[in-house]
C-alpha cells in the first residue's frame, strides 16, 4: 500500500515503461476481477437452475442493446458517477466514508424543500433550479463534512459515523415528508409538493438523458484535476499515504479531511438534487434507491480514480437498467442484482492482494521498489 502511494505521489520520477506496466496492472486486475465474479455468478445461476447465457445476453440487450436501453443506462449512471465520486474523494485522503446514500437523500430533500416557497411564488426556473442545486450540495456537504470533522477532531471512526448519519438523514426526510412538508394529495406515498413540469430540469439535447449525467462528467474531470494536478490534491494524497508524516510536514490534515468530506457530500447531494429535479419531481422514499451504496462499489472498481468512475458508473447503470428485463424474462427476484454486486465487491477486494504479485507487470530492474 505505501509503495503504491509513494508511486502515486511522485509520478514524475517513474520512467514511461514502468508507467505503462503500472497502468496495465491497474486495468488488468480489476478487469480480471470482473471476469472472475461473472464466472462465479454463472455458477451460482447454474446451481439455482437458470441459464447463465440467457442472463448475460439479456444483460447486454437490456443495458446496451438499443438506443433506448443505452439512454436508460446513462440515466441511471448519472447518480452513480456522483455517489462514486463521493466515496472516491475521501478515500484518496484515507477515509472510508460510506454515507453517500444519506447525503443523496438529504440533498434531494433539501432541494425539494427549498423549491416549495420558490415555486409557489412563481420564481422562474432559471433562478429556482440553481438554488435547489445549491441547497442540495450544501445539505450533503455539511452532512458529510460533519463526518470528517468528527473523524479528525473527535477520533470517531468515519465508516461507522457516516453510515449512522445515513440512517439519520433518511429519518429526517421521513419526518418532514410525513409531517410538516407533506403534500396532502400524496395519499399512498407521502411526498413533498411536486415542483411541477415547468421546473423540471430537461434532458441533454438530442437524448432522453438528464443533465445530471453531463454534470457528473464535468465534476469527475474537475475533481481529477483537483486531486492529481493541484497542491491541494497533492497534500490530500500525501495525507492519505501517511497522515502522521503529512502532519509532521505541517499540512493542515484536519482541514484537508473536512474539505474532502464536504466535496464528497456535495457530490452526493447534487445527485439527490438531480433525482428530484429530473426524475421524481418531489422528495419521497423513492430517493432511497441504493445509489449511495452502489457508488461505493463503483469507486472501488475505479480504484478511487475520478476519471475511471465515469465508465464504471455506466457499467453499473447498465446492470441496473437491465435488472428489470432480467427479472421479468427469467423469473428472478429483484435482489439478483444485489447478489451479483455483492459477489463482484468481494472478488474485487480479494483481487487487491494480487497487486505486485504478477512478474509480468513488474519492471525488469525493481531493485529500488520493495
Amino acid at each position: 500500500m505505501t509503495a503504491e502511494t509513494a508511486d502515486a505521489i511522485l509520478p514524475a520520477k517513474r520512467s514511461s515503461s514502468v508507467r505503462v506496466l503500472k497502468l496495465a496492472e491497474t486495468v488488468a486486475i480489476p478487469v480480471g476481477a470482473v471476469v472472475v465474479s461473472a464466472l462465479l455468478f454463472s455458477v451460482f445461476l447454474l446451481i439455482i437452475g437458470k441459464d447463465p447465457l440467457q442472463f448475460w445476453s439479456l444483460m447486454w440487450t437490456g443495458g446496451f442493446g438499443s438506443s433506448f436501453s443505452i439512454q436508460n443506462s446513462l440515466q441511471r449512471a448519472a447518480p452513480l458517477i456522483l455517489t462514486g465520486l463521493a466515496f472516491a474523494i475521501p478515500a484518496r485522503i484515507g477515509l472510508t466514508m460510506i454515507g453517500g446514500e444519506g447525503a443523496l437523500v438529504l440533498g434531494g430533500f433539501a432541494a425539494a424543500a427549498i423549491a416549495i416557497p420558490l415555486v409557489s411564488n412563481v420564481v422562474p426556473p432559471i433562478v429556482t433550479l440553481p438554488l435547489m442545486a445549491a441547497a442540495g450540495m450544501l445539505a450533503g456537504g455539511l452532512w458529510i463534512g460533519l463526518v470528517g470533522w468528527l473523524r479528525h477532531y473527535r477520533g470517531v471512526n468515519e465508516t461507522i459515523s457516516s453510515l449512522l448519519l445515513s440512517y439519520i438523514a433518511i429519518a429526517i426526510m421521513n419526518f418532514f415528508v410525513e409531517g410538516a412538508l407533506r403534500d396532502p394529495a400524496s395519499a399512498n406515498k407521502p411526498s413533498t409538493l411536486p415542483i411541477g413540469d415547468t421546473y423540471r430540469i430537461g434532458s441533454i439535447p438530442g437524448t432522453d438523458v438528464h443533465w445530471g449525467f453531463a454534470a457528473g462528467i464535468v465534476l469527475a474531470i474537475a475533481l481529477w484535476v483537483l486531486m492529481s494536478r493541484t497542491t491541494f490534491g497533492f497534500a490530500a494524497r500525501m495525507t492519505g499515504g501517511n497522515a502522521r508524516a503529512a502532519k509532521a510536514q505541517g499540512l493542515p490534515v484536519g482541514w484537508l479531511m473536512v474539505i474532502c468530506c464536504i466535496i464528497a457530500g456535495a457530490c452526493a447531494g447534487l445527485a439527490g438534487f438531480f433525482e428530484v429535479a429530473a426524475i421524481h419531481g418531489q422528495a419521497n422514499a423513492s430517493l432511497v434507491a441504493g445509489y449511495g451504496f452502489t457508488g461505493i462499489l463503483v469507486a472501488f472498481l475505479a480504484r478511487q480514480n475520478p476519471l475511471a468512475v465515469v465508465p464504471v458508473a455506466i457499467l453499473f447503470g447498465a446492470i441496473a437498467a437491465a435488472g428489470g428485463v432480467i427479472q421479468r424474462r427469467m423469473g428472478l427476484p429483484d435482489a439478483t442484482v444485489l447478489v451479483l454486486q455483492g459477489m463482484l465487491f468481494v472478488v474485487l477486494l480479494v483481487s487487491e492482494t494480487f497487486y505486485g504479485r504478477f512478474k509480468f507487470f513488474q519492471p525488469a530492474s525493481s531493485g529500488d521498489r520493495v
Partner: protein, 304 residues
C-alpha cells in the same frame, strides 16, 4: 401517571426484546475485535441469519433448528471474512462493507418466497404471570435466547480472563509480534474468532425473524448489525458491559413504539432515529475517552 407507567413497562419489555439481537452481534464482534480484527459486515450476517432461520423454521417446523441454521450461515460468512482478511493488502473494513452487501443480497434473493408464509416462532418464557398485571406479564415474556446471550457473555468474560485460549485471543489482539514469538498462529486465531463472531451474529438474526418482530421482510434490520459494532467500542471490549450497553440501546429503540402504545404518534420518525443518534453520541463520547484508548486491543485498525 398511569400513562407513564404504561410507557415505562412497555420500554422495559421493549428493551429486553430489542436488545437481544444487539447483544449477540456485539458479543460476536467483541470476540473478533479482541483477536485484533474488525468485522464491519455483521449486518450481512444478521440479515442472512434472519432469513435462514425463518426459512428453516418454516420448512422443518422447528424454530430451534432455524436458530442453528442461522448460526451456521453466519459462521460461513464469518469464516469467509476471516479467510480473506488474512490475504496481504486486503483492507478488513472494506471487506466488511462488501460482506454487508453480499449477505443482504443473498438474504433478499433466497428470502423472496418466505415473505408471505408464517413460520413457527420460538416460545417465550413467561416470567411475569404471577404479577397479575397483564401489561407487566406481557413485558416479561422473555425469549430464551436473551438468557443464552447473558450466559455466553459471562462465559466469554470468564474465559477471556482466565483460560489459555482467552489469553491467546487477547495476545493476538494486543500484539501480533509477541503472539508470534510464543509460537501462536495469529492468522488462525483471528480466523477462528471471526468465524465464531459470525456465528453469534447469525443467531442474533434468528431472534429477529423468530421472536421479535417475528417476521421475515426486507426491512427487518436497519443497521442493527452496524450499531452493535459501535456498541462494542462503547462497551470497551468487555462482554459484560456489552450486555448493559445492548439493554440501553434496546430501551432507546423501544421509545417510539412505547409512546405509540399510549397514542403518542407525533415525532415517531424522530424516535425511530433515536438509536442511531444515541450510537453517534456515544461514539463521540467514547472515542475521545482515555479509558477507551487504554482498553482497546492494540492491533485493531479501527482505533488507530
Amino acid at each position: 401517571m398511569d400513562q407513564l407507567v404504561t410507557v415505562l413497562i412497555a420500554m422495559l419489555g421493549g428493551a429486553i426484546r430489542v436488545s437481544t439481537p444487539f447483544m449477540f452481534v456485539a458479543l460476536g464482534e467483541t470476540l473478533t475485535e479482541k483477536s485484533g480484527r474488525i468485522n464491519l459486515g455483521l449486518e450481512g450476517n444478521l440479515v442472512l441469519g434472519a432469513m435462514v432461520a425463518y426459512a428453516t423454521s418454516y420448512l422443518t417446523g422447528s424454530p430451534w433448528l432455524g436458530v442453528l441454521a442461522a448460526g451456521s450461515s453466519g459462521l460461513v460468512l464469518g469464516a469467509l471474512h476471516g479467510y480473506i482478511c488474512k490475504l496481504p493488502k486486503v483492507n478488513d473494513i472494506a471487506i466488511g462493507i462488501a460482506f454487508m452487501s453480499f449477505g443482504t443480497g443473498l438474504a433478499f434473493f433466497f428470502g423472496k418466497p418466505f415473505i408471505q408464509p408464517s413460520a413457527p416462532q420460538l416460545d417465550a418464557i413467561h416470567l411475569g404471570d404471577w404479577t397479575g398485571n397483564p401489561a407487566l406479564a406481557q413485558a416479561l415474556q422473555v425469549n430464551p435466547l436473551f438468557f443464552v446471550g447473558i450466559i455466553v457473555a459471562i462465559a466469554m468474560w470468564w474465559a477471556l480472563k482466565n483460560t489459555k485460549w482467552g489469553l491467546i485471543v487477547r495476545m493476538a489482539g494486543d500484539s501480533a509480534a509477541s503472539a508470534k514469538a510464543m509460537g501462536v498462529s495469529v492468522d488462525l486465531v483471528r480466523f477462528l474468532a471471526t468465524a465464531a463472531g459470525g456465528f453469534m451474529a447469525g443467531i442474533g438474526g434468528a431472534f429477529l425473524s423468530l421472536s421479535y418482530p417475528g417476521i421475515w421482510s426486507q426491512g427487518l434490520s436497519s443497521g442493527q448489525g452496524l450499531m452493535a459494532v459501535a456498541l462494542v467500542i462503547f462497551a470497551r471490549w468487555d462482554p459484560i458491559r456489552a450486555i448493559f450497553a445492548a439493554l440501553l440501546f434496546g430501551a432507546a429503540g423501544a421509545i417510539g413504539p412505547s409512546l405509540q402504545s399510549i397514542g403518542i404518534t407525533q415525532g415517531y420518525y424522530f424516535f425511530n432515529a433515536a438509536p442511531y443518534i444515541l450510537t453517534l453520541v456515544i461514539l463521540v463520547l467514547s472515542a475521545g475517552s482515555k479509558a477507551s484508548a487504554r482498553e482497546a486491543p492494540g492491533e485493531l485498525s479501527i482505533t488507530k
